[in-house]
C-alpha cells in the first residue's frame, strides 16, 4: 500500500538549530530511509519544504482568491513529506518513530 508521511514541526526549531542539531536531523532521516529499505518499505519520494513564508494559497469558496502564506497560521507547519510503499501500516508507524520531527501524520493513498 502507498502511504504519505506528513511531517509537521515548529519551523523556528530548524531556524534555531546549530550545525550539530541539523546533522542529527539528517542522520535521523538517513536512519529512517535505511531502516525502511531493510524492512521492505520503498521510499518513493520525499521532499523537505521551504519555509511557509514562501507559500502561496489559492482559496476557492464563493470566488477564487490567491494569497501569500500557508493554509493555516499554526505553530507547527508542514515541513516535509515522504511517499512510501509499505507492506502494512504497523511497519510504517514503527519506522516513522525514527524521524526527529515532533508530529508525523500517516495517510493511506487512494490508488492501490
Amino acid at each position: 500500500m502507498r502511504y504519505v508521511v506528513l511531517i509537521y514541526e515548529d519551523e523556528a526549531l530548524w531556524r534555531a538549530a546549530d550545525d550539530a542539531e541539523r546533522a542529527r536531523y539528517e542522520a535521523a532521516h538517513r536512519a529512517f530511509t535505511d531502516a525502511a529499505r531493510d524492512a521492505g518499505v520503498t521510499v518513493v519520494a520525499g521532499e523537505a519544504l521551504a519555509g511557509v513564508a514562501s507559500a502561496r494559497t489559492v482559496r476557492h469558496a464563493e470566488d477564487t482568491t490567491v494569497t501569500d502564506g500557508p493554509f493555516a497560521e499554526t505553530t507547527e507547519q508542514l515541513t516535509g513529506l515522504y511517499l512510501v510503499d509499505a507492506p502494512d501500516e504497523a511497519t510504517l508507524l514503527d519506522l516513522v518513530r525514527l524521524l526527529p520531527e515532533t508530529t508525523l501524520e500517516v495517510r493511506e493513498c487512494v490508488q492501490p
Partner: protein
C-alpha cells in the same frame, strides 16, 4: 529564463463536500495536460484516502511519543491530495491549479517550494 525548481501543490477540500466526481477527474486530466503543454513537469502526485483513517505520531518536548487516530488537525478542510511539480513559473502553475479546487466547489490549493539544503540533502531526501 528562470531555473525550474520543485514545488509541492497541496490540495485541500471539504471531506463531506458533494460534487461531480467525473468533473473533478476531468479537471485533473485538464491540469496534467496543461502542465505538459506549458512545461510544468509533474514529478508525482497522489490522491489520499479518508482523513479519518490517518494515524498521528506526536513527540513531546520530553521525547515521549504518542500515537493517535485521526489527522493532524480537525479542520473543515483536509488534505485530499498533492502534486509535486518542477516548474520555472510557479505563478502560472498556481493559475492552472485553480480549476482543481473550483471543480469541488470549495477548497484551497497551497503551493510551496521544496527546501534545498547545501551540501547535504536534509529532511525528505531519499537515499
Amino acid at each position: 529564463m528562470t531555473t525550474p525548481t520543485t514545488h509541492l501543490l497541496l490540495l485541500r477540500g471539504d471531506p463531506d463536500g458533494t460534487f461531480d466526481l467525473d468533473e473533478v477527474f476531468a479537471a485533473h486530466d485538464r491540469f496534467t495536460a496543461a502542465c505538459a503543454e506549458q512545461g510544468h513537469e509533474i514529478l508525482g502526485g497522489e490522491e489520499l484516502g479518508p482523513h479519518t483513517a490517518a494515524r498521528l505520531l506526536r513527540a513531546t518536548p520530553e521525547g515521549d511519543v504518542t500515537v493517535s487516530d485521526g489527522p493532524y488537525a480537525e479542520t473543515a478542510e483536509q488534505i485530499g491530495g498533492y502534486y509535486l511539480v518542477r516548474t520555472a513559473d510557479p505563478d502560472a502553475l498556481l493559475r492552472l491549479a485553480a480549476p482543481l479546487i473550483e471543480a469541488e466547489g470549495h477548497g484551497t490549493a497551497e503551493l510551496r517550494p521544496v527546501a534545498v539544503h547545501d551540501p547535504t540533502p536534509g529532511a525528505g531526501a531519499p537515499a
